[in-house]
Amino acid sequence: MTTKTLDTVAASPGRRRFKGRLGAGTTLAMLAVMVLLPLVLPSATLATEILIFAMAALACNLLLGFTGLLSFGQAIFFGAGAYISALAMIHLNAGLIGALLIAVVSGCVLALGVGMLCIRRKGIYFVMLTLALTQMAYFLAYTLSDWTGGDNGLLDVPRPPLAVGETTLISFASPLAFYALVASLFALIYVVARRITDSPFGSTLLAIRENEQRASALGYDTRLFKIMVFVLSGGITALAGALYGMLLNFVPLSNIELLMSEQILIMTIIGGTGSLFGSLLGAGAIVLLGDLLSSIWPRWMLLLGVALIAVVIFMRGGLWGGLSSLLERRRGSHTKPHKEAGHD
C-alpha cells in the first residue's frame, strides 16, 4: 500500500514539490511582511490597519474562496465585535483578553444564527438574505444610540494593557506595541487557518465549493459544514472588529454598514479568493491605495472600482494568482499551472 502511495506522489512530483515549497514559502513571506510593514510604512498605525483588515479578509476568504459562499454579512460580525468588546470594556471593565474573547464568542454566536438562517437558501437568495441581515444590523446599531452612540459612533473606547490583576504586563499605548499585538494575533490566525484548510474539514469545504450536490451524495452533511465555516469566519471577523475599535479608540457606525461588507469582499477578491496569503495582499493594497489616494483626490473610490474591474476581468486569481503564476514562470516550470486544491 505504501509503495502505491509513493507511486502516485511520484506521478506528479514537480507540482507537489512546488506546492509544498510555495506553502512553506508563503508562511515565511508572511512573517517577513509583518516585520517589514511598520518599518517601510509611514506609520505603525497604518500597518496595524492593514493587518486588521487582512484578518477580516482572511475570514471572508474562508467563506468565499474555500466554500463558495458570497456573503454580504461580514459587517455584522465586524461591527458587533467592535461594539460588544468596546461596551464590555466601558461598562463591565473588561480587560484586553476578556474584551477580545467576548468579541470572538459573540461573533461566533451571531454567525451561528446568521449562518443557520442564510444557508437555508442557495445562490442569489443566500446573498439577498445576508444583505438583508446586514441592513437590519445597521439599523439596529443606529437605533440603539444610547449604547452605540448612533451616528456619532461609540467614543472613548479604551485600549487596555495586558494585565494580571492590577499589574500591567505590557502596555499597548504606543502604536508599535499595539501593532505587535495585532501582528501576533494575525500570525496565529493565519497558521491556524492554514492548518484548518489542510484538514479533512477544509478539504470538504473545497468539495462543497466545487459541487455541493456531489458532496452531499458522498455522505457529507453540507449544511453542517457551511454553518461551521460561518461560525469560524464570524469569530475571526469579530476579533478584527474589536481590534479596530481599540486602534481607533472609537467605533464608527460605518463598521456595521453594508459598505464595510463590500470593502472586505473587495479586499478578498482583489487579493485572490482561495488564497490566505492573498487576503493579506488584498487588504494591504486597498488600505494603502485608500491612504495614498484619499489625500490627493477625494473621489479615489472610483479608482478602486476600476482596479476591481481589472482584477475580475484580467486577473481571475487576484493579486496572489498573478504573483504565483509569475513565480512559476520564472522557475521555468513546464507543467501547466492549475489549482490542485484551489489554495496556496
Partner: protein, 250 residues
C-alpha cells in the same frame, strides 16, 4: 427465499395529480446486478430520486437490509451502505482526480470529517482507498490532473469510481454510459461487470446491449409502474415489453 438487500413497498411519487412513480415494489437481491429500464417518462429517474433521497416519496417505504430509510437524507444514506453515481457527470472539476476519489472515500467518516485539526495525510485509509480505486478504474496515470481536464469517457469512469470509494453495500448507477462515445462504452461495460462480482448494483440504463449482457434481473417500467420483471431472456421475449417500446417509437 433469496437474500433481499433493498426493498421498496408500494413506492409512489406524485407531482400534483401526475403519478411519476405509482406503486412500485422492487426486491433487489444481494450480490446481483439489477437493471431498471423503460421508455422515456416511464418513471425510472423519479424512482432513482426516491432511492437516493433527493425526493421524498409521497407514499410507500424503502428498506435497506431490512432497515427503514424512506426519510433518510441523501448524505445519511452513504453511511448506511448506499452510494450513487450521477447521470450528468458530477465531479469536483478543479480538484485532482486523486482528490476527487479521496473525498469520496472520506465521505463515509460522517461527523469525523468535521475534524479541522488533523492533517490529510494522517488519514491513510482514505489515501490508500483512492489509490486502490485509481488502479481499478485505470486512471492511475492521470492521478494529478484536474478532473475537469479528463476526456468525457474518463470522467464517466471517474464518476463511477467515486461511487465505489465508500465500499457501499448497494451501488446505484444512473445511466453510466450516458453521453459516452461508442469507443468508450465497452470499457464501462466491463467495469460494471467486474464491479458486479463484489457489489450489489441497481442500474438504470438505456443501452440495451449493456443491459442484456450484464444484468441478472431486469425490471421494465412503464407509466410509473412495473410492467415486467425477470432475467434478460424473459424480458427480451415478452410481448408487453415490445409493445411499450414500439409504442414509444410509433
Amino acid at each position: 427465499m433469496t437474500d433481499v438487500l433493498l426493498e421498496t413497498r408500494d413506492l409512489a411519487l406524485a407531482y400534483g395529480a401526475f403519478r411519476a412513480v405509482d406503486g412500485v415494489s422492487l426486491r433487489i437481491a444481494r450480490g446481483s446486478i439489477h437493471t431498471v429500464i423503460g421508455p422515456n417518462g416511464a418513471g425510472k429517474t423519479s424512482l432513482f430520486h426516491c432511492l437516493t433521497g433527493e425526493r421524498r416519496p409521497t407514499a410507500g417505504r424503502i428498506l435497506l437490509d431490512g432497515r427503514e430509510i424512506t426519510r433518510e437524507p441523501p448524505h445519511g444514506r452513504v453511511g448506511l451502505g448506499m452510494s450513487r453515481s450521477f447521470q450528468v457527470t458530477s465531479l469536483f472539476q478543479e480538484l485532482s482526480v486523486h482528490e476527487n476519489l479521496r473525498l469520496a472515500a472520506q465521505g463515509i467518516d460522517g461527523w469525523r470529517a468535521l475534524n479541522f485539526w488533523q492533517r490529510l495525510n494522517k488519514r491513510r485509509e482514505h489515501l490508500a482507498r483512492a489509490d486502490e480505486i485509481l488502479e481499478r478504474i485505470g486512471l492511475a496515470e492521470r492521478a494529478g490532473v484536474a478532473a475537469g481536464e479528463l476526456s468525457h469517457g474518463q470522467q464517466r469512469i471517474l464518476e463511477v469510481g467515486m461511487a465505489i470509494c465508500p465500499r457501499p453495500k448497494l451501488l446505484l448507477l444512473d445511466e453510466p454510459t450516458s453521453g459516452m462515445g461508442i469507443d468508450d462504452i465497452p470499457s464501462m461495460t466491463s467495469l460494471i461487470g467486474e464491479l458486479g462480482e463484489d457489489h450489489s448494483i441497481l442500474l438504470i440504463e438505456h443501452n440495451m446491449s449493456i443491459v442484456m449482457s450484464i444484468s441478472d434481473t431486469i425490471t421494465v417500467m412503464n407509466r410509473g409502474q412495473v410492467l415486467v420483471e425477470g432475467d434478460p431472456e424473459t424480458v427480451r421475449s415478452d410481448a408487453r415489453v415490445r409493445d411499450a417500446y414500439l409504442g414509444e417509437a410509433a
